[in-house]
Amino acid sequence: MTTPDTNPILTISGLNKTLGGKPILRDVSFSVQPGELKVLIGPSGGGKSTLLQCLNFLHEPDSGVISLDGEAVDYKSRKTLYAYRQKVGMIFQDYNLFDHLTALENVSLALRKVKKLKRSEAETRARQELDRVGLADKASLYPAELSGGQKQRVSIARALAMDPRVILLDEPTAALDPELIGEVLQVIRSLVQSGMTMIMATHQMGFVRTMADEIIFMQDGCIVEHGKPAELLDEQRGSRTLDFCTHLSEFENGAP
């Protein structure tokens, strides 16, 4: 879609998913270029979250092909699946930190158990990642002792520690108090600037406007439209995305 001269990192073609007899994803196809930030927007129940979960096979798609670096992922093979998941990080709306582990252990556990690093190496790396998200001084705290924004930053550090090629973010700020959203978006912004490839579901329109390379608008499991923010959010063009975003901001401002 954008910059067709480079090879896409991730290609999704013809993805379908039905849950409980209800089609959630319908023939979803798109590709992601290295360093790109793709943003998924759309009404809830539109399939954004399911799409992201399918992208690292937390949900198995019913049909369709996902390719990483041009190679179709054979997710039925456990070995391929686990290797793929290491390369595709996931950030959840409700953080999903491991409640019995400190911030440092949250970040270092998979380095030790999945990447098989020694404890000391894993912890050194984990400290670097915590430092990167501004939480070097919180390493020994448990999730219950952290604010929502801090928890989400730990979960970002946890994903980054695995050296992912792509990070999927499922409404990373949706569960946060308004005053905590900024610190998480700041971390994501710095990831964009460092060239991380990301697919993110979010309704933070200010962020989307300035940071996204492309918006994908999803409704009823389909990609309704996609394009650069400047195009889709152009008041002259009257896109579905703009329409949705206008309602969104009305809702946020308390108007009917």
Partner: protein, 226 residues
Amino acid sequence: MERTISVLIESFPYLLGGAGLTVAAVVGGMLLGLVIGLPMAVMQVYGPRPMRWFVQFYVWFFRGVPILVLLFLFYFGLFQLLNWNIDALTSATLVLGMASGAYQSQIFRGSIQSLSRGQFRAASALGMTDGQAIAHIILPQALRLSLPGWSNEYSIILKDSALAFVLGATEIMARTQFVATRTYQHLALALAACFIYFLLTWAGVRLLRALERRVSVPGFGQAGAK
């Protein structure tokens, strides 16, 4: 009165020796129950259907039959039939352990199912296998949450262990009966047995509570706290 006191004083070391056997049976039974119950809980939550059926059948059987009947079934029945020469105390320990495994599996299953799904997903998303997620994320939390139920289970097993008396195991209850039939101090000796059981319950529950505090994680497992 003096006679009662002297009987109690004279027999007390003997009764305490019985307490040693009781503790051995209870600790052995609890540990065997742990070894049986924990994998069963994991199988029941995560296993394929035949495995879940097997666990359900096991739990149904061992929870459905009184301990006393199980003791007869195994000690005088199955072990005899198989020509296994197992002494009464060991038999009682095995039976208590097998029955406790059924109860413990349900304690652990409840704890596992009380955990949010998200953490398992997060572990999977990091490339952990299901086994790794269960071993490093689910069980460390589920076991912590199980400790209150486990201390309950301890106090129940401790008292069930008195039934080993009917097999002729010389634990607390058997020894108080031996002394009582010889000295006719039934009331005093029954009270002595009460006292020892109280003491063992109290000590065990205290110990498990200390363990609970020792492994506690700030803010974890306090979802229902005010």
